[in-house]
């Protein structure tokens, strides 16, 4: 009933669609007429002529003019448009071509026939066939009705009569051309009726007159053969299709028996035979889908027995197997016949596989895993046989070069069959094996395919094997490594999967090397996956098997091995893997060996040391024996990265191994060695590393060495460590001063290295002498800087002296040489102050009279600083009434020295001080001092002033000459 409704709906839709188009066409014509685009005659002509209706489509697409666009009526374009309709202009030709490319629904339905024909086709052919179908259904209904009144024989007779009548009328009328289409419909209905009736003779209880299934089968076979043979006469796919369709429907609605299955089989076979003979691919596909669908439909409702034996299970599958064989055979036979690689018959192979496996899967619940595995294996074997046949029928050598794998795969080549065979073995292996044996079996299968691919030079097999290898690899990396269990192998306690992992890696590497070794073999990018997979597996094994602190070392060793292999085999991928593993090793090193909590771990230190050694070895290899088959840039990068890594690791190792105050020394030694090596082999990268280490060493001193209180033999570790490093920086400065070839970044390093010791000495003295007493040490340092700077004519040293002198002055001035840490009376304020002042005066005389813009004030600066400090010191030491006298004496002393030494700054300082004394005398001393002090102050200062005055007048000529020389 549902089927009838479906047919009615389809027919109604077709009719409605056609009516709608007709109405649409008329509306367009009317619109054109109303707008003046078409004359009345045109309108009439177009309505009468179906040809015009085709042109209307393009007219209909013209944009409608606006209601207010009056000019349209006046423009001649209207006539042109009408003319263009008649002439079928080029634009419309294009439109037709486009329409040809994309046929509308009607065209698709009627196979692109002329529009005038389709109506007759619908009326004469389709309605005829639908009528036949309706008639058959009517017959069936009548039979059903007649069941109440007739016995089985009567029912059969009625069925036979109706069928034969239909057949007879069809045969009689078919010869007349006019009724040919009508007759074919009747023929189809007749054969279908005959088939159903014959089927009913045995299959239906209500009409069973034949009890022997063999006879029934023979009869059904005869009818089927008759139907097939008769179809050949008319060579109408629709007629035969209708017949087969009815046959399938019949079997679908009948109860399930062995007979119905055989009937279905024969129906399918006959259909395929016809389809093959007449190249009716659509019918073949239809037959395949119908066969499996009906079988699935009919068996789905059945209660399946549980736990069948293999034979029973096989028997249960027998019909299905025969179906599979039937369709597979059809596909194999059809391969040679295929004119085009892209026709509908190509779907038979995948549909057959899906149909068989899908329907079979529905029945798997009836068999044990073992039985299912047998079935899978047998299916795989069958597909293997199919593979061989397909290979012979459609050898890859015969295919066009343009044919890619996909074309061959869907075109019926061996590729599809072998893929299915291989794929079916996977679940088979999973069922039959357990644990790591699954991996081994899968790998064996994949390897077999790989070797087969190589032997027959079939790339597809190699790709297939590659895909298959992914399964055991994925299982290993995702599942197996998370499983507990260990084995002891040669005394080593290993994870239970480790040997297999190594085996996998070995197989992968072997395959990659085999591929590489065969000359002329074209490999694809994916086949590099072998070596990448092997690298991943080994890295994982190392990760699980090695002690965490030795992991980085292990990975680095592996990276080196990969690299060397890459060089040897000239395969870039190995080098890439080597770099990846090396980066992994570095990450491991950082996160496990450096940031791990157990830094005291011996293994960690050992790993660091060995890794550093490896890095330097690597550096040596790239420096001395750089591989010729990699680019120079790559070689240089690797060389520099290796040395850098070695240096960093050694620095870290120093940090771990050495006591806190010695780390700076360790890094200093490293800096010396690396920098010296950098100069020796003339490698800037090494020199950069050396400089970085020197900077680290310098910085480290501020963290651990200046404030520590450690000592050896009474000498503070501060002194013991800072002095050698200051020497080191001095050495570097000299080195950079003397080396001719320098890079840009090295141009100023000699000066920077000269300032580094100055800073170190500054801090050393500060912490060795204390906050206040430091001025003594610093002033001595000033003297050294000025002396060296003058003798060596080094402006940096001199400037260090100037800056330090200013610091000394400020500190001295603000602290008044008042030292809380001045102990045991040895360094009193006078002694301390005197040293500083004396040094400043000494510096004044040591410094040459520079003409430089800034340095010409150097001497004066020392002089003024010393005089101010002396004046302050006198102020603190000579408090009270004697201060004016003391300052007066100081002033005279300054003048006395200033004249013979021709130091203008001293003389001016003396005069300034005398002025200060005079002011103090009158402003303060006159009222503030006790009588005796006041008197003495006046007398002494007066004498001093007279004395100075006498000198200035008595030796005026000489003074003038001094002044001139100044």
């Amino acid at each position: 009933m549902t089927f009838i409704l479906l047919i009615v709906v389809i027919i109604t839709l077709v009719i409605v669609f056609d009516r709608l188009r007709a109405i649409d066409r008329r509306i367009d014509l009317l619109r054109d007429y109303v707008l003046g685009k078409a004359k009345k005659e045109d309108l009439e002509q177009r309505i009468q002529s179906p040809q015009t209706s085709r042109f209307d489509v393009s007219i209909k697409n013209e944009p409608l003019p606006s209601r207010f666009d009056v000019s349209i009526k006046k423009e001649p374009i209207v006539t042109e448009k009408i003319e263009s309709v008649a002439e079928v202009p080029k634009t419309k030709k294009v439109s037709k071509a486009e329409r040809r490319k994309e046929p509308d629904l009607i065209q698709r339905l009627f196979g692109g026939m002329a529009t005038e024909e389709w109506e007759s086709v619908v009326g004469g052919s389709w309605l005829n066939k639908i009528g036949a179908l309706v008639l058959i259904i009517g017959v069936a209904l009548f039979l059903g009705y007649s069941f109440r009144y007739f016995g089985p024989l009567g029912r059969i007779v009625i069925g036979l009569v109706i069928s034969l009548v239909l057949l007879g009328i069809g045969i009689l009328t078919e010869s007349k051309k006019r009724y040919a289409i009508f007759a074919r419909g009747l023929l189809g209905a007749g054969w279908a009726g005959l088939y159903i009736t014959t089927y009913a003779m045995h299959a239906m209880d209500a009409s069973r007159i034949i009890y022997d299934p063999l006879i029934a089968s023979v009869m059904l076979f005869v009818v089927a053969v008759g139907m097939i043979l008769h179809s050949f006469i008319y060579r109408s796919e629709i007629v035969s299709g209708l017949a087969f369709f009815i046959g399938f429907i019949t079997l679908a609605i009948t109860p399930v028996t062995g007979f119905s299955s055989i009937a279905l089989l024969m129906l399918a076979f006959s259909l395929l035979a016809v389809a093959y003979k007449l190249s009716w691919n659509k019918m073949a596909v239809f037959g395949l889908v119908a066969t499996y669908a009906i079988y699935a439909f009919k068996t789905s409702g059945l209660e399946m027995p549980r736990e069948l034996s293999f034979v029973q299970f096989l028997f249960q599958h027998s019909i299905l197997i025969i179906y599979w064989v039937l369709f597979e055979a059809f596909d194999l036979i059809a391969i040679k016949k295929r004119s085009s690689r892209l026709d509908l018959s190509m779907t038979i192979f995948p549909l057959n596989a899906c149909g068989f496996l899908g329907v079979s899967f529905l029945q798997w619940s009836t068999g044990s895993n073992l039985i299912i595995s047998h079935l899978l294996f047998m299916t795989a074997a069958a597909y293997l046989v199919s593979t061989i046949i397909r290979f012979r029928l459609m050898p890859p050598s015969a295919s066009s070069k343009k044919d890619d794998i996909v074309t061959r795969l869907v075109g019926g080549g061996y590729e599809g069959a072998v893929t299915l065979a291989a794929a079916l073995l996977v679940p088979f292996i999973y069922i039959r094996f357990s644990g790591l044996n699954i991996n081994i079996a899968l790998m064996l299968e994949a390897q077999f395919l790989f070797l087969l691919g190589l032997y027959f030079r079939l790339p597809y097999l190699r790709y297939l094997s590659l895909a298959l290898f992914i399964i055991p690899l994925g299982k290993l990396l995702v599942y197996d490594i998370n499983q507990p269990g260990e084995i002891i192998l040669s005394g080593l306690n290993l994870k239970y999967w480790t040997p297999l992992a190594f085996l996998s890696a070995a197989v992968f590497y072997l395959n990659r090397l085999i591929l590489n070794s065969i000359r002329g073999l074209k490999t694809v990018l994916a086949e590099r996956g072998y070596s990448y997979s092997a690298a991943i597996v080994i890295a994982v094994v190392l990760g699980f098997e090695l002690h965490s602190h030795l992991l980085a070392l292990g990975l680095l060793l592996y990276a080196i091995t990969l690299f060397e292999n890459g060089i040897k085999t000239n395969l870039e991928e190995f080098r890439i893997q080597a770099y990846c593993v090396a980066v992994l090793a570095l990450f491991t090193l950082v996160f496990i060996n450096v940031f791990d909590l157990s830094v005291s771990n011996f293994a960690s230190r050992l790993s660091l040391g060995l890794t550093a050694a490896l890095a330097y070895l690597s550096f040596f290899r790239f420096y001395k024996f750089a591989p010729s088959n990699i680019s120079k840039d790559e070689s240089v990068y690797l060389r520099d990265i290796s040395s850098g890594l070695g240096t960093i690791l050694l620095a870290i190792l120093c940090w771990y191994l050495l006591p806190v105050p010695l780390i700076a020394i360790g890094w200093g030694v490293l800096a010396l060695l690396v920098l010296e090596l950098g100069f020796f082999v003339n490698l800037p990268a090494l020199r950069i590393q050396g400089n970085i280490m020197a900077a680290l060493s310098f910085g480290r001193l501020f963290l651990a060495n200046f404030t520590g209180i450690g000592e050896t033999f009474g000498i503070s570790h501060r002194v013991i460590t800072v002095l050698p490093l200051a020497l080191l920086f001095g050495y570097f400065s000299k080195k950079y001063r003397t080396v001719a070839e320098k890079l840009d970044f090295e141009l100023y390093l000699n000066r920077i290295y000269l300032w580094a010791p100055a800073i170190l000495f500054f801090f050393l003295i500060r912490f060795e002498f204390g906050r206040v007493l430091a001025v003594v040490g610093w002033s001595l340092l000033v003297l050294v800087f000025v002396l060296l700077g003058t003798r060596r004519n080094n402006i940096d040293l001199r400037w260090q002296g100037y800056i330090l002198a200013l610091i000394v002055f400020l500190r001295s001035w603000v602290t008044n040489f008042n030292m809380p840490e001045s102990l045991s009376g040895m360094f009193g304020r006078v002694v301390t102050g005197s040293i500083v002042i004396a040094i400043f005066y000494a510096c004044q005389f040591i410094l040459p009279r520079y003409k430089d813009e800034l340095e010409k004030y150097g001497r004066m600066m020392f002089s003024v600083l010393a005089t101010v400090l002396l004046t302050v010191l006198i102020f603190y030491e000579v408090q009270g009434g004697w201060l004016t006298v003391a300052w007066g004496i100081e002033a005279v002393a300054l003048l006395s020295v200033g004249f013979p030494t021709r130091e203008k700054s001293l003389r001016l300082s003396g005069l300034f001080l005398l002025m200060l004394c005079i002011i103090k005398l009158f402003v303060f001393d006159l009222s503030g001092l006790e009588t005796i002090h006041r008197i003495l102050s006046f007398i002494v200062l007066g004498l001093l002033l007279l004395g100075v005055s006498l000198i200035y007048t008595r030796f005026s000529k000489q003074i003038k000459s001094y002044l001139v020389e100044d």
């Binding site: 450096v594 940031f595 909590l597 830094v599 870290i652 940090w655 050495l658 006591p659 806190v660 105050p661 010695l662 020394i665 360790g666 200093g668 030694v669 010396l672 060695l673 010296e676 501020f702 963290l703 651990a704 060495n705 200046f706 404030t707 520590g708 209180i709 450690g710 000592e711 050896t712 033999f713 009474g714 000498i715 503070s716 570790h717 013991i720 460590t721 002095l723 050698p724 490093l725 020497l727 080191l728 050495y731 000299k734 080195k735 003397t738 801090f763 500060r766 912490f767 204390g770 906050r771 400020l810 500190r811 603000v814 602290t815 008042n818 809380p820 840490e821 102990l823 045991s824």
Partner: protein
């Protein structure tokens, strides 16, 4: 040729220095104290310029001290025996002070806390808890010497110096603002004033005839009492740098250095000066 010789000599010197250090008493402390202390030197030097220009007389300082002491007088224990003990020890320390014009006054405060402090003008306060804690006269001398050193080195009066100076000029508001600015600067070096007071206190003790090592003993016991522990060596180089920076930032505004550093500094002073 010279270069190679110099290289070898330098290498030997470096290695020898390392060996010598290895043989000695190794200190494991890692900190930014060196930089921090030198920076505090700079701050103090800058601060000293202002102080030199705004010095107040000893009389005004003592007047201020008395005024402040009155505010805490309700705390005084009024225990003659304890006061006599403190006075007796302090009298031995007084002769060696630099500022002779300051008249010191010593008070005992009733509190179980282990503390002592000083105010400008020679006002020194010792809490009874501290008096009970000290195990010898030398230890008390260490405490008193430290507080007297604060007064003698002007640490106490410098806290109020700008305020007093501008008060005299009847510009109290400006004084308060300037003092606020100065305090923000002095926060950076106040803990180093504690080390100065420790050092000078040690000198006072030594000159008064006490054993300076008593100071080390006292601080060691205080450290144990306060459950202060020395941090273990960092586990990684990066961790070390992170910790050093964290400590430097945390301790920048501390008023007192950690006890371990004070003990180390005192030990070094004793060693250097052969006390």
């Amino acid at each position: 040729m010279f270069s190679r010789f110099a290289f070898l000599v330098l290498l030997i010197i470096l290695l020898a220095a390392g060996a010598v250090v290895y043989l000695g008493n190794i200190e494991q402390d890692v900190s930014l104290d060196s930089v921090s202390e030198v920076w505090s030197d700079v701050l103090r030097d800058v601060d000293q310029f202002g102080f030199k220009l705004t010095r107040v007389s000893a009389e005004r300082e003592m007047e201020l001290g008395k005024k402040l002491a009155k505010k805490v007088s309700f705390w005084f224990e009024n225990n003659p025996s304890k006061e006599a003990y403190v006075s007796r020890v302090s009298q031995k320390l007084l002769p060696n002070l630099n500022r002779k014009d300051i008249k010191y006054e010593f008070h005992v405060i009733k509190s179980s806390r282990l503390n002592a402090f000083a105010l400008p003008g020679g006002q020194v306060f010792v809490m009874s808890g501290m008096l009970d804690f000290v195990s010898s006269e030398a230890e008390l001398a260490a405490i008193l010497g430290h507080e007297m050193a604060h007064v003698d080195l002007r640490h106490c009066v410098e806290l109020f110096q700008y305020e007093l100076f501008f008060e005299a000029l009847e510009m109290e508001d400006i004084g308060m603002v300037v003092d606020l600015l100065r305090r923000s600067i002095s926060m950076g070096y106040r803990k180093y004033q504690e080390l100065d007071a420790d050092s000078f206190g040690l000198v006072l003790m030594k000159k008064a005839g006490y054993d300076p090592s008593a100071t080390v003993d006292l601080f060691t016991r205080l450290k144990a009492y306060n459950n202060e522990t020395d941090p273990a060596r960092a586990k990684t180089p990066v961790g070390e740098v992170a910790r050093v920076l964290e400590e430097a930032l945390d301790s920048y505004y501390d008023s007192h250095p950690v006890t371990t550093k004070r003990i180390n500094r005192l030990k070094e002073l004793i060693r250097k000066n052969k006390f």
